[in-house]
């Protein structure tokens, strides 16, 4: 999520100030155009599998007559200087690429006060977003995309739901557990040069220990001891989410990154749908992980204790359950599952500091739809949300696909506040 206009307004005011000092009358309405091209527009050209396309020519034109051109390098990137507070037209020369450009070869981009990125995707547009009209192929393809997304959501929401169930915390930094997991894997993968197949499990273990156990041990547990209220804790989690996000930007920058391996894969044709092998394998692992987790929660002693604490912490504690140990376990589990979701998302899409934040509301939607604090509910809810997000693009513009899931959540909350699988609560 960009902070765009407001996050950067100090700079905007600074510019206004300087311009004012120079004695040039400026209308506040029309923010001044700085004469120097001090911002950078990154044009990224890639195919549907996000493979970089080098050698594509792009031109950039601004209304003030400014124009610049560039050609994409081996990473599929062309860096073009632009000035702030303008709207530029970016054109990709179709003659320099071999495949058609999805969603057109001309884009309008508003440049405010920070660098921007424009992505051109090449291909037939069969990858889910493109095409129009409701055809069997399209529905099937979206359904597959929805199921894949559902696994990511389910992995994260299960932890969110368990943490809520055992501690009552509405954790607004749960998305960052996913992001942290992905970046941990990225560091192991790109900086330490470990193949992602090995780096991923290590990252999951590190995440479970550091971001899960550690976070609980050094932040939430002391707060519980201090008797911090649930609303206060919720606001603390917002502060934590903001902190984590910008620490990541500080060290890694804002641009999306990919793992070294499996970045580009040719989808395999399964009759009416296309799926990449990595999506199949990651989904299969997700099924195994989710099944084991659910069986463990239902069967093992610690799992039963977890559910007992979710039901009634005081009663569980009185019957000899070590509540703190259960909470610790839940954080470890939650962070581990979220880290896998992060690796999953990082492999199928890319690794970026906002990846968890973008999905956070879908996690909430999943958990609330299923019934806050229920295990089966979180998973059922995830599939409802994931599939709704994808299938909704049949009817509404792509920008609104997440909105569709959120809308569904709100409607369900109004009709059935306890969620699909939740129980009616006892009042008083």
């Amino acid at each position: 999520m960009q902070r765009s206009a407001r996050g950067s307004s100090p700079r905007w005011l600074l510019r206004l100030f300087i311009v004012g000092l120079l004695g040039i009358g400026v209308s506040v309405g029309m923010a001044p155009a700085a004469s120097a091209e001090d911002l950078q527009l990154t044009v990224r050209v890639q195919d549907e599998e996000r493979n970089a396309i080098p050698g594509a020519s792009v031109t950039v034109e601004a209304p003030d007559g400014y124009s610049a051109a560039g050609t994409t390098d081996d990473e599929g990137l062309a860096l073009i200087p632009v000035s702030a507070n303008t709207i530029v037209t970016v054109t990709l020369d179709e003659a320099t690429v071999t495949q058609p450009v999805i969603e057109g070869n001309v884009r309008e981009v508003s440049i405010l006060t920070r660098d921007k990125t424009v992505i051109f995707r090449l291909g037939e547009g069969g990858g889910g977003g493109g095409g129009s009209g409701i055809t069997l192929e399209r529905v099937a393809q979206l359904l597959v995309g929805g199921v894949v997304l559902s696994f990511v959501i389910a992995l994260a929401s299960l932890g969110l739901s368990l943490i809520f169930g055992t501690t009552g915390l509405t954790n607004f930094s749960h998305g960052e557990l996913l992001t942290l997991g992905a970046f941990t894997a990225l560091v192991l993968n790109t900086a330490a040069g470990i193949n992602i197949i090995i780096a991923a499990p290590i990252a999951i273990i590190i995440s479970a220990a550091l971001w899960g156990w550690g976070q609980n041990q050094f932040l939430w547990r002391p707060l519980r001891r201090k008797g911090t209220g649930l609303i206060a804790a919720m606001i603390v989690s917002i502060g934590l989410a903001i902190t984590i996000r910008y620490v990541i930007v500080f060290f890694f920058g804002g641009a999306p990154k990919s793992f070294e391996q499996f970045a580009g894969q040719t989808p395999i044709d399964l009759g009416i749908v296309f799926v990449t092998p990595k999506e199949l394998i990651l989904s299969a692992i997700a099924i195994v992980v989710l099944t084991i987790t659910v069986l463990w929660l239902k069967g093992s002693r610690l799992g039963k204790a977890t559910r007992a604490v979710s039901d009634n912490p005081a009663l569980a504690s009185a019957s000899g359950v070590n509540v703190e140990r259960v909470i610790s376990t839940v954080w470890i589990l939650g962070a581990g599952l979220a880290a896998y979701a992060g690796v999953f998302l990082g492999l199928t899409q890319n690794v970026v500091w906002t990846m968890g934040q973008y999905l956070l509301l879908t996690f909430f939607a999943a958990v609330v739809l299923g019934g806050l604090g229920t295990i089966g509910g979180a998973i059922v809810g995830s599939f409802v949300v994931g599939i709704t997000v994808q299938l909704s693009t049949l009817l509404v513009p792509t920008e609104l696909k997440t909105a569709a899931a959120l809308f569904l959540m709100i409607i369900l909350l109004l009709i059935r506040p306890q969620g699909l699988l939740g129980r009616r609560e006892r009042v008083g």
């Binding site: 206009a5 506040v28 309405g29 709207i87 405010l112 209220g229 903001i242 902190t243 910008y246």
Partner: protein, 327 residues
């Protein structure tokens, strides 16, 4: 390092347009959350409605700004009713999730609406009617010690602070009244207030409307002063920053959001400028200029956590009163 410059920058920002916009929205949040205990995480939706109302009325429809202001207030009330009537019966944490979801739905919808300018938003002379009323003398700069504004800015800032004064006065008058007593009672324990014969639901809708209209006023100021309305300016972080300001200043204090917004922007700009000067003058070598932006927001995040943990009553809050907080 030129501290004079840094200080004048920071002070200008502390009373400047951005602080005014956030301040209005934060006063609204103070009515809802500070006094009424309503966990509204979607305050930015009201800001967006205000901004888009004037933006679209002037640019897309080509009508008068004042019509846009009226439409903005009406739409804020409508949004409060749409949001409040079904959701104000929900538990606090559900309300938080629903309001944040609603604000995102509105942002996504604005982004996909051609009428509202899509992802690019609406840009143009939104504030022309407003600037035409500028009675200030035709000076280049208006200087007050280290702070100075252009004529146009001066007018915006002047009107902005008058608006804040008005809204604050209204809040003060309401909160000392029996109406305010019921609202504060709802924050403490809604069931107790219901058991005393008050229709708490009605009061909650009223505070949602009131706070929402204040937020919409902030949005209008933003659209007028910036001459543009961008959908991605209305992300949930906007609301979160409002919480930082509110808690910094002191919740349920009439002056809390004003002090909070001013200090927030002062600190943010101060830190940014110090780091910038430090980097460019070679005093700070371990970070690059692109890392200054994130540092500011790390400070916001850490600040919010530390405030909430160690001084949740903020600057103006009463420690004694806070100790009684059972939430």
């Amino acid at each position: 390092m030129d501290f004079g410059f840094i200080l004048s920058q920071s002070l200008t920002q502390a009373i400047g347009v951005t602080a005014i916009i956030y301040c209005l929205a934060a006063i609204g949040l103070n009515v809802q959350f500070g006094y009424g205990g309503l966990l509204n995480f979607g305050q930015v939706a009201f800001v967006a409605v205000g901004a888009y109302a004037v933006g679209a009325t002037v640019i897309s429809v080509g009508s008068s700004l004042w019509l846009g202001v009226a439409i903005g207030i009406i739409l804020a009330i409508v949004l409060a009713l749409l949001l409040g009537i079904p959701t104000l019966r929900l538990r606090a944490d559900y309300l938080a999730i629903v309001t944040i979801a609603a604000s995102e739905i509105i942002r996504f919808a604005a982004k996909s609406s051609d009428f509202l300018g899509g992802a690019q938003g609406t840009t143009g002379a939104i504030g022309a009617d407003f600037y035409a009323l500028n009675p200030l003398p035709e000076w280049d700069r208006f200087e007050f010690g280290p702070i100075s504004f252009t004529r146009v800015d001066m007018w915006v800032v002047l009107v902005g602070w008058c608006l804040i004064a008005l809204v604050t006065l209204l809040t003060w008058a309401l909160m000392r009244s029996p109406w305010g007593r019921v609202v504060k009672g709802i924050r403490e324990d809604e069931d107790a207030v219901r058991s005393l014969g008050k229709n708490t639901y009605l009061f909650k809708i009223q505070i949602l409307i009131l706070g929402g209209v204040f937020g919409a006023l902030g949005g209008m100021m933003s659209a007028i002063s910036r001459g543009s309305v961008q959908p991605d300016g209305f992300v949930p972080d906007f609301t979160f920053f409002l919480y930082v300001m509110l808690i910094l200043g002191g919740t349920a204090r009439v002056m809390g959001p004003i002090l909070g917004a001013a200090i927030f922007w002062f600190l943010l700009v101060f830190v940014e400028q110090v780091l910038k000067e430090g980097v460019s003058s070679g005093l700070i070598t371990f970070i690059s200029t692109t890392q200054i932006g994130p540092i500011r927001f790390i400070l916001v995040g850490v600040g919010l956590m530390l405030l909430m943990i160690f001084r949740p009553q903020g600057i103006l809050g009463d420690r004694k009163e806070l100790m009684l907080d059972a939430r």
